[in-house]
Amino acid sequence: MTGVWALLGALAVAGAIGVLLKVREGRISSSKASAVPDLPAPVRDLLVAPGVTLVQLSTTFCAPCRHAKVVLRDLADRTDGLTHAELDVTNLPDVAASLGVMRTPTTLALTADGTEVLRVGGVPKRDTLLAALRPHLP
């Protein structure tokens, strides 16, 4: 009988996690945009001036990273002043930790001086992201 409850419990937990992640997928959090932080060198090297660089953090084990790459590359190709760069942090956990990134894909939108404009967890939604980036594009 306990097994039945354990099964029901597991199904409920899976359902809750699934709903939570679906809701959070592609959600944009705007950054405090305060002083320029100590950006790790591998990230700083990717920044392109002028405009905004979308730095996508990925790992070898991340299947949705590929989908994020397709969305972001396409968006960058069609938008002036927007560049996409992917950084594989599989062997750079310190970089991810110093940026406060827990999951991949996470995409940071950075200006040329290293100021973080916003970040997106999961596979970004094209139109929502573009709308959020508009004020920061040249």
Partner: protein, 145 residues
């Protein structure tokens, strides 16, 4: 360790459904030998090759021919990592059931079921997305550069 080529993503989803069913049977019956067999299966897929997965063969011969072909391919690395996560939970579960720590067995099996079900229903691999966090606490996961 063999290197697997990219696969049709619907194969692993089918496989995850079968895993979900097996883990559900284990929870309902407490039949730990079945869980032990699943643990061995996880280990073979994670540490040797995904080709050893019997559900992959069932998918290729019985299901794939009935579906419209897809050019979509999924890399093998995330899939094998997911099998490794499954292996850890299934191993703890088997040890729990086999040594009489039934609650431990149920909790570990339940967590493995949560992961398998999320994978099957949503194509989501929690362990893969949280790799960076896992690695911080399990240094052994670090890959040689």
């Amino acid at each position: 360790m063999l290197k697997d080529s990219p696969v049709d993503p619907r194969g692993p989803r089918f496989s995850a459904w079968m895993t979900t069913v097996i883990l559900a049977i284990v929870l309902l019956t407490g039949w730990w030998r079945l869980l032990a067999a699943q643990t061995v299966l996880f280990a073979m897929c994670a540490f040797i090759s995904l080709k050893l997965n019997p559900w992959g063969h069932v998918y290729r011969y019985a299901i794939q021919p009935r579906l419209t072909p897809t050019t979509e391919r999924e890399e093998a690395a995330p899939l094998r990592f997911a099998q490794g996560v499954g292996f850890v939970f299934a191993l703890i579960g088997t040890l729990g059931y086999a040594t009489g720590l039934t609650t431990l067995g149920m909790v570990a099996t339940g967590l493995a079921l949560v992961a398998a079900l999320l994978n099957a229903a949503l194509g989501l691999c929690l362990g893969c997305e949280m790799y960076l966090v896992l690695r911080r606490y399990v240094p052994a996961l670090a890959r040689p550069q």
